[in-house]
Subunit: 390 residues, 2 copies
């Protein structure tokens, strides 16, 4: 019997799509059947790669009867509108994180998908990574006792990677809180296994040439009594890969020897236009675009989002790119994780489970709205200098 394949139309062939492309290429449960993008170069590349129709906008893509799911990977500020367009045509929606820029937009998206009877899923997000999903399952078995404290830290060069101007404008969904806390908060919520009720945070904005949040620290309290401490620093100095065995966010081997490369590359650019051009050139269909490595290259490590330690009453659990270490009362154990055959296959697991088997996805619209509300509360708490009740 042939594998049932999900027929996906892609809205937006930018950076998020490039990062999901290895998954779409290697996972036999999906096929890309159409796409839209305002850039003609990207459309040409897609048509050539997939022998599939391309459109200039989402409305036209949503009219394609062969599409059953629209993967919305357009810039953040378009997520809500594009979701409504997709749902109105009866398409299931997989929308990139952050879900939207405000809770009202999330509500519109949830309502539109509910009214149309289609699934709404939000991702990829690193909370899909197997080390976190498996840690969550281990905690839910109960043998380690209740979650009490979570520590999540990530130091990267996020702010100095090539950016479009809007990615450096908080009001347009740019900056470390919308883009990076969206991962970290999602992971922490999932591991806490309880509703977040309060939050206190501080954000860092200390490079006027990149005028958005580059860093934050937050304390989050959960209904079950657990609390979490989150810190992110994207200013490109210390790199927490050093504490993850030099395995990078994408499950790739990283190295201390490339120190400072993001800043160095950026220095060669004269203007923010040059920077946006550089980003576009490296994106799907651009002049410097590199297709994903061949599928036969073995991937040994899972993706991750920096060091995380979950302290339960009777054990600390530490999800790593290839294993979970359980620091128990009596002994320390390492649970090896299966090697990831297809990167981010967890997204397809959940999407397939929803569309084919009717299982409610973990990363549905309500869930993702909760994460966005926390991200917005991080900004608000820092601004008002007080707790935010969630």
């Amino acid at each position: 019997m042939d594998q049932r394949r999900l027929r996906i139309g892609v809205a937006g062939l930018g950076r998020a799509f490039s990062l999901m492309l290895p998954t779409f290429l290697r996972d036999p449960r999906v096929q890309l059947v159409a796409a839209c993008d305002p850039r003609a170069d990207a459309r040409r590349q897609f048509a050539a790669d997939f022998a599939a129709p391309t459109y200039a906008d989402v409305a036209a893509l949503a009219d394609d009867d062969n599409v059953e799911i629209i993967y919305i990977a357009s810039p953040h500020q378009f997520h809500a509108q594009h979701t409504e367009i997709a749902a109105a045509k009866g398409k299931h929606v997989l929308v990139e994180k952050p879900m939207a820029l405000g809770a009202a937009d999330c509500d519109r998206m949830i309502a539109a998908c509910r009214a149309a009877g289609v699934h709404l899923m939000v991702g990829h997000c690193h909370s899909f990574d197997t080390p976190y999903l498996r840690t969550r399952e281990l905690i839910r078995l109960g043998e380690f006792g209740a979650v009490k404290m979570i520590q999540a830290i990530n130091y990267t060069d996020y702010l100095y990677r090539p950016r479009r101007p809007e990615e450096l404008a908080t009001a347009e969904g740019g900056g470390a809180v919308f883009s990076q806390a969206a991962h970290q908060v999602d992971i922490v919520r999932m591991l806490a296994g309880s509703r977040a009720i309060r939050l206190r945070a501080s954000v860092g904005r200390w490079d006027p040439s990149r005028p958005t949040e580059g860093a934050y620290s937050a304390l989050i309290w959960f209904e079950n009594g657990a609390y979490a401490s989150l810190s992110y620093n994207g200013y490109g100095h210390f790199n927490t890969d050093e504490w993850s065995g030099w395995i990078g966010e994408m499950g790739d081997r990283t190295s201390p020897d490339t120190y400072g490369s993001a800043r160095r590359r950026l220095k060669t650019l004269a203007s923010s236009n040059d920077e946006a051009d550089l980003k576009a050139a490296g994106t799907y269909g651009g002049s410097a675009y590199k297709p994903p490595a061949a599928a036969d290259e073995p991937q040994r490590f899972h993706q991750h989002f920096g060091p995380i330690i979950v302290s339960c009453k009777h054990a600390d659990l530490r999800p790593l790119p290839d294993s979970i270490v359980i620091y128990g009362d009596e002994q320390r154990q390492t649970l090896p994780l299966p090697v990831p055959v297809v990167p981010r296959a967890e997204v397809i697991d959940e999407l397939y489970g929803a569309v084919v088997d009717g299982r409610r996805p973990l990363h549905d619209g309500e869930w993702a709205k909760g994460t966005l509300e926390i991200c917005i509360a991080i900004l608000k708490s820092s601004e008002t200098g007080a707790d935010v009740t969630l």
Copy 2:
């Protein structure tokens, strides 16, 4: 010319004294000339080791004309009273951290020493460790720009080491906040280089058999705009020595192979009396007491208090047990630190500077009161669920 030697009388021959003893033995600038302790065994050992008089209480020690400095290493709750007794007899005071259990006690101690015209110094505390003092100096040179964000993390087995009952009672100065935040907060304040103005925190108490704080996380804001995120977990699972090259708090080599040893030892004890006995036995003069290793054993690493990253505008600085790593805008540099010939010699540097050269110590009463106020604010913020203004 002979070295001028500080003549120190020791008030309290317990655990804190044991940890300072290698310093007193090896540093030619000090000599131990008297001691007091309620335990006859400890007094006997001291008299034998130092051919020096011993007394049953601090008042008698303070009457010894040969003593010029009293090192107050009695239990926390006696620090204020013992400082007053010492000062009244014109002795300089070196008092262990935490300075006292409340700000009013600190004020009494400061006033007593000021009235008597004697120095008041608080320590040892890990903020004396060379890696932190040197990092502070580097920051003050200004080339890395202002401090923006500090991350301090420490996971230990603190709560399961042998304890006297009062060490597990917060009201008596027990628990991770009074005992361990006193180090971490002091280091962070010193590196921030500015007055702490606000704080939000959460504490963890999740083992009813050790009914005090075993963990905390805190956000602290400073006048200069910097903020710090501190986390401590003493519940004996994950150990941050793993992120410090398996160098322990005392600058010793630690190992993943001794996992769980503190809990295992504790399990062999039937009661809290047995536990206090075990602690006493291992303390100076006790039946299982081991004197410090010979002075010719080379010490390669500085003491430390877990991973710390100071993010300045243009560099992250990371103090390590043998070096400081500077993650700059352009490059990463490692500054090796001189090997510590005498452990904790930094305490004697400061004490000698004050008593002999009349230099105001960094760790004076006002400074240490500031740290205690933050520790108390950590407890208060967690209890009230709101910011504490400092």
